[in-house]
Symmetry: C2
Subunit: 278 residues, 2 copies
């Protein structure tokens, strides 16, 4: 690839630029955004080699366009990019939800330009290009979400791109992806926010590692997260309902003073948690 | 102080020994436990200078006894130590709950030996002396929980001991302590366990930083935690009820697609979380 264009150069977009350059995946990285100051910062950090506030101009010579804007804007940015970039350019995104975005894009996309949805599971409670890292995707999961309309060759190219950045790839339908991340990401976010918000201020001096870990993601950008939760609200509500039931089972074990049941519930959590690293 | 005796030399007990020795707070640290192998390991790591499986023998010459056993055993260990140690020895503990332990001890304690309850908020999802660290208490909160029966001079000595290990001290009644940690520690633990247990195994390859942080404490020792939750079940159930209500408010905002309300809820969590470090 000669040129990669990145629309939205924050933590994820900036890290894609840094990683692509470090690994020599492309010659040029064009950063596209609304804010000149932030674009200059991205260039200063080496995340992009060129910059523009015009999507049309920025994508013109791109072989690959990666849309890294908030989920509410992604489909329109993909479509604007598609209208300006030359074939055989490929477009992908990094949105945390996939079904609505992919459906909106496929409904409107001229078939001569290719789009494949992606979701690198590599966010953090931090945002902004200042936190971008060239190793953000090393060993991290990226879900690629082709549909029946996606050409196999395009899926392969997008997978190669993410593998080239160090990620391990999963392929899922947009719907299956959204269902999974409702449980693995969106529900934990709501739980963290609710826990943090409802800890009385007078007790904050008593929090320790457990509280700090459990609530960490609540520090993330609230506008981005409100969009994500609303995009995926059906699946999130389902996951939230199951969580409410699980908490009620805990409550019943406590009410009854049933230690055997409490041990069973705690052990189930411990087993699943230990299946992964710290 | 010449001699500190530690009953139960795991993560916390071992760290007390390491920190007390590093800071020169005492000449000898006697480790008391049931398991010779673990005691030898503690001595090998420098957490204790002497070891015994007999509480009676181990506390005999102690100026301070610190009981670091699971909460279900603490009051009986305090009372056994009190029966064998010489005045003016002082006894404290490190239990994660305080009201039941302090009440049980005060009900039975001969007034010639002094007990002051403590709770260093410095646990982790790890357990065992292998994870002990001589800086575990640096800057961490330790709650000291005197009652109307506690002599002011004894409270002062216990506070000095914990300050000497690098901790910052809060003083609360046992009841106020238990109410606070139900919200800051015990509820997050249940939430983490429920989240981990209810994430379907087929989606575990998709978890990222948010899930890993939010569920981390679920890896902790389940027997210790079942005891803690049952000790404090009235307060934990109260905190759990408030959390369920907060989650229901989130659910309603999602059902209605009310973005303004979602932003308000997420911002409340973000604000409280940002009041503390990462």
């Amino acid at each position: 690839m000669e040129t990669v264009a990145i629309i939205g150069v924050g933590l994820i977009g900036g890290s894609i630029g840094l990683a692509a350059r470090r690994r020599g995946l492309c010659g040029r990285v064009v950063g596209i955004g609304r804010d000149q100051t932030r674009l200059r910062k991205a260039r200063g950090l080496g995340a992009v080699t060129a910059m523009t506030t015009s999507i049309e101009e920025g994508v013109r010579d791109a072989d690959l366009v990666v849309v890294c804007t908030p989920v509410d804007c992604i489909s329109q940015h993909v479509l604007r990019a598609a209208a300006s970039c030359r074939r055989p350019a490929l477009i992908t995104d990094v949105g945390s939800t996939k079904a609505a975005i992919v459906a909106e894009v496929e409904r409107a996309l001229n078939s001569s330009v290719s789009f494949v949805g992606s979701h690198p599971l590599a966010g953090s409670d931090k945002s902004g290009v200042a936190f971008a890292r060239d190793d953000l995707f090393d060993g991290r999961a990226v879900v690629v979400t082709p549909t029946r309309r996606t050409r196999p060759g395009d899926v392969r190219r997008i997978k190669e791109f993410w593998s080239g950045l160090g990620a391990r790839i999963s392929t899922m339908t947009p719907q299956a992806h959204d269902k999974a991340v409702a449980a693995t990401s969106h529900l934990p976010h709501i739980v963290a926010a609710a826990l943090a918000a409802n800890t009385p201020e007078r007790w904050l001096h008593l929090v320790a590692g457990g509280w700090l870990d459990t609530t960490r993601v609540a520090a993330a950008d609230v506008e981005l997260w409100a969009q994500i939760l609303l995009h995926n609200r059906k699946n999130v509500l389902h996951a939230l309902g199951l969580h409410q039931e699980a908490m009620e089972v805990f409550a019943q074990a406590l009410i009854r003073g049933n230690k055997k049941e409490l041990l069973r519930l705690l052990a189930a959590g411990q087993r699943r948690r230990n299946a992964l690293g710290s």
